[in-house]
Symmetry: C2
Subunit: 153 residues, 2 copies
């Protein structure tokens, strides 16, 4: 097995994912870091907040922008436990985030290679550095969440 | 010239676009209607709110979901003065909105045919009825906004 090192920021994103799970939400967590500081954090809240836009990344990015007083998050890094969907990927690109660290792949909706390519999303000129952690824990968290959901139906 | 009829809901979306313009924001406006009632409205607020997600559609959808107490806006219609971007189109599809009425085309970022096709966005099974108004006023509003912006630089 390949050895992977998770830094403290990613572990905080994982912590957010567990918070989502504890609320019966899709277990995805995210933090936004700038100059070594976590300036935004979030976990999926679509059900609890009755808000279809309340994905972990949207919440973390909104908080980060509020903290900086601007929507431009240039120089920031986003850590997220699951490959972001098109909505979130599009927002990440709009917000000028420079680097994205992703835990697990999301084959159905992921826009960092699975169903779309982040480099092709507007604005096209802007490139984002992407790091894949292949975090099995975050992937397993999703699998068990949806298994539990199906068993309830 | 082809005669087009704008209903009151679309005129409210236009009113929202003018509100955005009055705040020096990108002039896009949106309302969400269900059972004949406007349950959400919004205009672009990215600069004023320091929030990269604060597009007219996101604000209107969040408000509508709050009003209904659920993220599922099944049976709702969204009226917007400009072709939604990928972020907003993805949110529209997630939120189960059934119909979208669009004013003007957005050739650089529009996800209802310009740079992406709404029918291909996940969830793919779900189809959305789309009505194009070809509203020259809303298109002109955008053109003059960006012209003014460029002249300031």
């Amino acid at each position: 097995m390949e050895e992977v090192l998770y830094d403290n920021y990613y572990m905080e994103a994982r912590r957010e994912a567990l918070l989502a799970l504890s609320k019966d939400e899709v277990p995805v967590g995210c933090v936004v870091v700038k100059d070594g500081e976590i300036i935004g954090r979030g976990h999926n809240m679509t059900e609890t907040a009755a808000d279809p836009s309340a994905h972990a990344e949207v919440i973390a990015i909104r908080e980060a922008a509020k903290a900086l007083g601007t929507w431009r998050l240039t120089g920031a890094t986003l850590y997220v436990t699951l490959e972001p969907c098109l909505m979130c990927a599009s927002l990440i690109k709009k917000s000028r985030i420079g680097k994205v660290v992703i835990g697990a792949i999301e084959p159905e909706e992921g826009a960092f290679g699975s169903v779309a390519s982040i480099s092709l999303l507007p604005p096209r000129g802007r490139q984002i550095e992407v790091v894949w952690l292949k975090d099995e824990f975050s992937g397993d968290l999703m699998t068990s969440y949806f298994k539990k959901l199906r068993s309830r139906r």
